[in-house]
């Protein structure tokens, strides 16, 4: 009802599947009553009893076309909150009676809040099974170890097992080994060993233990059944069952698959749900049998192909699309404890640390994890927007940042850290290339204007923060162009000016006023002009001197002046041999720039070592050193310059001295030199790059440090003058761009607090806490994407050396992210659950996963196959496994073929007007009198007909009910063989409603939902589609096999045993067959799982025959369309039914 969406919301309750449109503003409890869902509640909706707990399921539910989010529910009030702990609140738990519906939602009603428990009909059937289990127990008495006999415990055990039971070449599970010594001694050297497949010891128990238990599980789309079996006698000890907990994420396999496709972590969520479910079953059956879960030493499992993919945590995407190939056909054995384990074991969240290291370590707090996540989804612009929340310089920092984020990236502990810097650059370049829309100016909501002195990274970052918060900001720049060191200190080949210009342009577009050629004389002047606060970010521009003899000789120049001139377009003359002194980035830049200006021989002398792992390493970044060397710069490490050598007033070289240590034990710069011989470096020009200081120029009354830097408070960046803040190189001395940006941002926070009259320290946001432990087990190694660079010989003039990532590289690289922070954030509990808690049975136990036949004919059908053994029969058998998805096998020992058909959930009662799953109150048996057209019915768990009871309390119709209803309507002449209601039937039960005819099965007074329960025309059509698909599948298989009649029809599937065989035949669920040759065999898939558990030969049989059954894809058969069409009639358009002749009306 799309037109009504303003007033009515789609509400879906799971696991019952009841849904309907509910008026906005109603509570979930009211909705549940209207839709026939029974939720507990004893306090009369007063939020006193807390028994009506439900949970919202969030995500995109493509099938219903809705997005269910907690915003679609009214916020939680205090009276409700007291019923939940924080974790539950986070998981989306609510009280149904208190929560109003504001939009479309999917609501899960947990077991404990449900009034009527679902009837899961998957009882084990009684079949003889030959006993030869995979796990057998062996009791042995060992010789005690003595000083004379110090044989190891394990060797002692194997020796005895060999002697007594002739077992050889045994191995032991590691987990079991760790407990072995205790077990041996606890049992006083008498133990029972559980041996799997005669190969591996998977459990050692003290003393004699005779009983061995195994668990066989059948995972259906709707229900999960587990059978606890005694491996020593083959008996079923206890049975457990539950709704498949994945039901909330979609009722049929296709909607589950699409859930994994459209929701991030969708697969993990579904996998986690089923693993929880399996653990629940294991706990339930063990408790009922009075044993511990750990006593279960073997397990077998079947499921349809989709379920199998999900419980193995393999992506089901590809089986949801033609040509439907599975990940694995074969059976497999895996350790139960490893089950579903993909990345890491469950994480305990300790402390408050929840932020990924990249964000915590970034001085400017860029959230690397989140923007990588966006890149991985090709959302490049969104990624840039996210980065811009923290910094305006993605393009600049993406090139020149010293990236502390990468240094600390957790991925670095696996293989290489993420290329976070290059990814910043990628998204900035992407926008630059694609074009950027002019930024919208920020509305100036604040009155206090702020002056910023210096337009370097610190000043602009400060301006950026303040303008975003609505302050009028003016930047004063002494130079002709803005950008500070980013413009004048970094060469073009490393940072193209157009990138810088664009990013500064963005800041200006936001509304920051930048005045170039505007040196500031005095701070007082600015205050007098009305500025309320000042940020000083003037940088450190004065080069440090060497203070050695002949430093004033012509030909000695200072790196920053040199860079500054080249960047300003001035011509600089260099001689043919240049020696650069200094191992930092500025030195490297000066050396590389010299090469680009045509100098043939460039040496770089530095105190530090080229061993980049030691404490005395060169301060320049690894990559720039590498690139400089590639280009031809000769690095002379561990040398100090003692003297500049001259001849006739011209420089000829440098006299050096060996440097043995740079940083002292306290981490201070304190170079130590040795006396030994040191090389002389030949040079005609010397470029000094040993650091810079701020200008000596004084601002009135500003306190300074002895080194000439401005003195500020470390946290607040406040100077001694109130209202004046400073940051960047002018405070720290020469440092990197990111530190300056961070200082500018911190100062901006201080300025805001200062203007608001708040305490600068107390009121600051707390520093981010890093997540402490990031699990990395199971992460596959994958090297980082290498940055493509220009070949060294092509690096000329201003050509940028690093070329940047291509789109695909960026996406690929981003996908390496471990999402460290996710663990602690919102989805954490679910993800942690999904990640490898495993199946909690005996720690050494295996799970045997049965093989898949083909496409949708999965391991559950293999279960049916080995239970029914059609490959040992002569008669032609049709085996129908009826479920949400129907599977068919036809043939005998000569040849077997199979097919799957989408029967839809209608057979299980879903998607019908009054359909419901099999649960108390469901109508399961119906009879209609041919003469009177009156109906009588039975509900589940009730022996009497409705006509024999007082309070009937029907709630809906389940699958077996609808399969009774349609043939009865047909035989009573209420519908014709095409399935259409016959118009002139006169009965109060036949009427028109909602533009279609319907038949009333139960009058309102016989129900608990206060309205008539009917079967309508659409219901009949839904069943016709399902049964038509099944019949057509059988027909096409018969044609393929070349047979025209069936010797035997076997109805498998738990549901199969509850439907009336005659009703199914008249409805036309399968071609004609003698009624005595139609069998219901119950949950044959579960029986197959049980057989595989109890008999290893059955496992071999499964492997063998699963591959032998030929699979037929029905929809591609050319005759499918018409065969399907004809099969939809009741029982069929053309076929004869000699076996039903006496029941069916005369053919016209």
């Amino acid at each position: 009802m799309p037109g009504d969406e303003n007033e009515r919301c789609l509400v879906i309750f799971q696991p019952s599947g009841c849904r309907g449109y509910i008026e906005k503003g109603k509570t979930l409890k009211e909705a549940s009553i209207a839709l026939g869902v029974d939720i507990e509640g004893v306090c009369g909706e007063k939020a006193i009893c807390g028994t009506c707990k439900v949970r919202i399921e969030e995500g995109d539910f493509e099938k219903y076309g809705i997005r269910s989010t907690r915003e679609n529910l009214s916020p939680m009030g205090p009276s409700e909150r007291k019923f939940f702990n924080l974790q539950q609140e986070e998981q989306g738990y609510r009280l149904a009676c208190q929560t109003q519906i504001l939009g479309d939602v999917v609501i899960f009603v947990p077991e404990e809040s449900r009034m009527g428990k679902q009837v899961v009909r998957k009882a084990a059937t009684d079949r003889p099974i030959e006993l030869n289990p995979a796990v057998k127990k062996y009791y042995v008495e060992l010789e005690k170890a003595t000083l004379e006999d110090t044989l190891g415990d394990w060797e002692r055990l194997t020796k005895e097992l060999n002697k007594k039971y002739d077992l050889s070449n045994l191995t032991i599970d590691y987990q079991v080994l760790m407990e072995l010594q205790n077990a041996v001694r606890d049992g006083d050297w008498k133990v029972t060993a559980s041996v799997w497949q005669g190969k591996e010891v998977i459990k050692v128990e003290p003393g004699l233990v005779e009983k061995a238990y195994g668990l066989a599980v059948d995972v259906g789309t709707s229900t999960v059944a587990g059978y606890l079996c005694d491996l020593t006698d083959g008996s079923v000890v206890t049975t457990g069952s539950m709704m498949n907990p994945q039901v909330v994420y979609g009722e049929d396999v296709m909607s589950r698959i699409s859930f994994t496709m459209t929701n991030p972590n969708g697969l993990e969520i579904l996998n986690g749900a089923i693993i929880d479910g399996l653990n629940g079953i294991a706990a339930e059956v063990s408790a009922a049998a009075g044993i511990k879960r750990q006593d279960i030493v073997d397990m077998s499992i079947v499921g349809n192909t989709c379920m199998q993919h999900i419980y193995l945590n393999t992506d089901p995407k590809y089986i949801g699309r033609s040509p439907f190939p599975p990940a694995l056909h074969h059976s497999m054995d895996l350790k139960a404890r490893d089950w579903g384990l993909k990345i890491a074991p469950e994480v305990e969240i300790s402390g408050k640390g929840i932020y990924p290291p990249c964000q915590v370590e970034c001085p400017a707090g860029v959230n690397g994890q989140d923007f990588l996540y966006l890149i991985a989804q090709s959302k490049f612009r969104e990624a840039l927007e996210l980065v811009r929340m923290a910094i305006p310089f993605a393009g600049v920092l993406g090139r020149v940042c010293t990236h502390p984020c990468e240094t600390e990236c957790e991925r670095g502990n696996v293989d290489d850290p993420l290329s976070l810097r290059s990814l910043h650059r990628f998204i900035a370049d992407y926008e630059f290339k694609e074009g950027r829309e002019k930024a919208t100016p920020v509305e100036k909501t604040k009155e206090e204007s702020i002056a910023i002195i210096g337009s370097g990274p610190a000043g602009l970052a400060c301006a950026f923060e303040l303008i975003k918060n609505g302050y009028p900001v003016t930047v004063f720049e002494a130079a002709p162009q803005c950008g500070g060191m980013m413009r004048y200190g970094i060469p073009e080949y490393r940072l193209p000016k157009q990138i810088l210009d664009d990013e500064i342009g963005y800041i200006e577009e936001l509304g920051v006023e930048i005045k170039t050629n505007s040196p500031v004389k005095s701070l007082e002047d600015l205050f007098n002009q009305g500025y309320k606060a000042i940020f000083l970010g003037t940088g450190a521009w004065k080069s440090q001197k060497l203070n050695i003899p002949d430093e004033n000789t012509e030909g000695v120049i200072y790196a920053l002046d040199f860079l500054n001139k080249v960047n300003s377009g001035e011509k600089v003359e260099l001689e043919n041999k240049v020696a650069v002194i200094g191992g930092g980035s500025v030195g490297i830049d000066a050396a590389r720039l010299s090469l680009r200006l045509g100098v043939k021989e460039v040496s770089l002398i530095c105190l530090e070592s080229t061993d980049l792992t030691c404490k005395d390493r060169m301060p320049a970044q690894d990559l720039e050193i590498e690139q400089a060397e590639e280009e031809g710069v000769v690095v002379h490490p561990s040398l100090g310059v003692k003297k500049i050598l001259t001849e006739r007033g011209k420089i000829v070289g440098l006299e050096t001295v060996n440097c043995v240590s740079v940083i002292d034990s306290e981490g201070k710069f304190a170079p130590e030199f040795s006396k030994g011989p040191a090389p002389t470096i030949s040079a005609n020009t010397v470029i000094v790059a040993i650091g810079q200081r701020p200008d000596e120029r004084d601002f009135d009354g500003l306190d300074k440090m002895p080194t000439g830097t401005v003195k500020v408070d470390e946290t607040t960046f406040e100077t001694n003058i109130p209202g004046v803040f400073a940051g960047g190189d002018v405070v720290s001395g020469p440092a990197d761009v990111i530190s300056a940006v961070a200082a500018g941002k911190e100062a901006a926070i201080s300025i805001e607090l200062y203007l608001a009259g708040m305490d600068l320290k107390e009121s600051r946001p707390a520093p981010l806490q890093r997540i402490e432990e990031v699990p990395k087990e199971g992460v596959e190694k994958e090297a980082r994407e290498a940055m493509p660079v220009l070949e060294p010989e092509k690096r000329k003039e201003s050509a940028e050396v690093e070329l940047g990532f291509e789109e695909q590289m960026a996406i690929q690289e981003s996908q390496r992210c471990l999402h460290c922070g996710v663990y602690a954030q919102k989805e954490s509990s679910e993800i942690a659950q999904a990640r490898g808690v495993g199946i909690k049975i005996s720690p050494g136990a295996y799970v045997h996963v049965l093989p898949i036949e083909a496409g949708f004919v999965g391991a559950d059908n293999v279960g049916v196959l080995i239970a029914e053994e059609p490959y040992n029969q002569d008669s032609i058998e049709l085996i129908i496994d009826i479920g949400t998805n129907g599977e068919l096998i036809l043939g005998n020992r000569e040849r077997l073929i199979s097919a799957s058909c989408a029967t839809g959930p209608a057979f299980e009662g879903a998607e019908l007007k009054f359909g419901m799953r099999a649960a108390p109150g469901a109508i399961e048996k119906i009879e209609i009198d041919k003469e009177t057209k009156e109906a009588r019915f039975k509900v589940i768990d009730e022996e009497r007909w409705n006509t024999e009871m007082g309070d009937v309390g029907a709630k809906g119709i389940c699958g077996s009910g609808i399969i009774d209803a349609i043939p009865q309507l047909f035989l009573a002449g209420i519908i014709d063989k095409t399935g259409r209601f016959i118009k002139d039937v006169s009965s109060p039960r036949v009427r028109e409603n909602d533009d279609q005819l319907e038949y009333v099965i139960a009058w309102a007074n016989e129900t608990s939902i206060g309205q008539d329960i009917v079967v309508c025309q659409d219901d009949i059509r839904a069943i016709q589609l399902g049964k038509g698909a099944m019949y057509a599948g059988a027909k096409i298989l018969m044609n393929t096999l070349g047979v025209d009649k069936l010797d035997k029809v076997i109805l498998a599937g738990a549901f199969g045993s509850y439907i009336d065989k005659q009703s199914a035949a008249i409805l036309g669920m399968f071609p004609d067959c003698h009624p005595e040759k139609v069998y219901s065999v119950g949950n044959a898939a579960g029986d197959g799982a049980r057989m595989a558990l109890l008999n290893v030969d059955k496992r071999k049989e499964a492997d063998e025959f699963a591959r032998e059954v030929e699979y037929i894809e029905l929809t591609v058969a050319p005759e499918f369309e018409m065969t399907f069409a004809k099969s939809m009639w009741i029982p069929h358009m053309k076929d004869d039914f000699p076996n039903l002749k006496h029941l069916l009306p005369e053919k016209k």
């Binding site: 099938k63 699409s258 699309r321 033609s322 259409r980 016709q1024 038509g1028």
Partner: protein
Amino acid sequence: MASEERTQEILKELRDAVVNYDEDKVVEWSNIAIDEGVDPFVATIDGLADGMIEVGDLYNKKEYFVPELLMCSDALYAGLDILKPAIEASGRKPEAKGSIVLGVVEGDVHDIGKNLIKMMFEVAGWTVYDLGKDVPLEKFLEEQLRTDCDIVGLSALMTTSMVSMPEIIKKLKEKNPNVRIMLGGAPITPEVVEKYGADGFAQSAGTAVDEAIRLIKMLKEEEMGK
């Protein structure tokens, strides 16, 4: 040349034969139409196609279902097989009412709904470019550009294949903002159509027919208006 009265009788028989999915009758009366000189174009439009419109109405009234539709369609095609060559022989070129590219999206092989739509458009005199099933996304784009069709119809039966629709819709709209896109198939809802940015909605065979008939009616009205 048949009298006006006889012509009307023949047209009625053709209509009824289609509605009653009586293939033999359709063949019989199509031959009579030709033998007695009824304009084969009139016999197609006012006989067979009119019958199919009634079939669509019956479907909407839930009296007919998929099997009946398919059989009516077979009957209709049996008639077309006879009448089409006659139309071509008469040299009369029916005006194309519009053109549509149809296909079942990649990963999906269920094409009954698509085939029914195809038939309805053909009946209506549209030019139909049928790409078949399991059609790669790029193919829709290529075919639209090649044929410059008015409508692209995307069909999917499975939720898993439906989710690939937004991409092709986006690409189609980028290349040609004027193309109209219609979605059909069991998992499609009006909300999905809106969310995916498509224009028209035809859920399952039934509403597909409805949508097609609406188009036919609109076209017929236009024609009458001329």
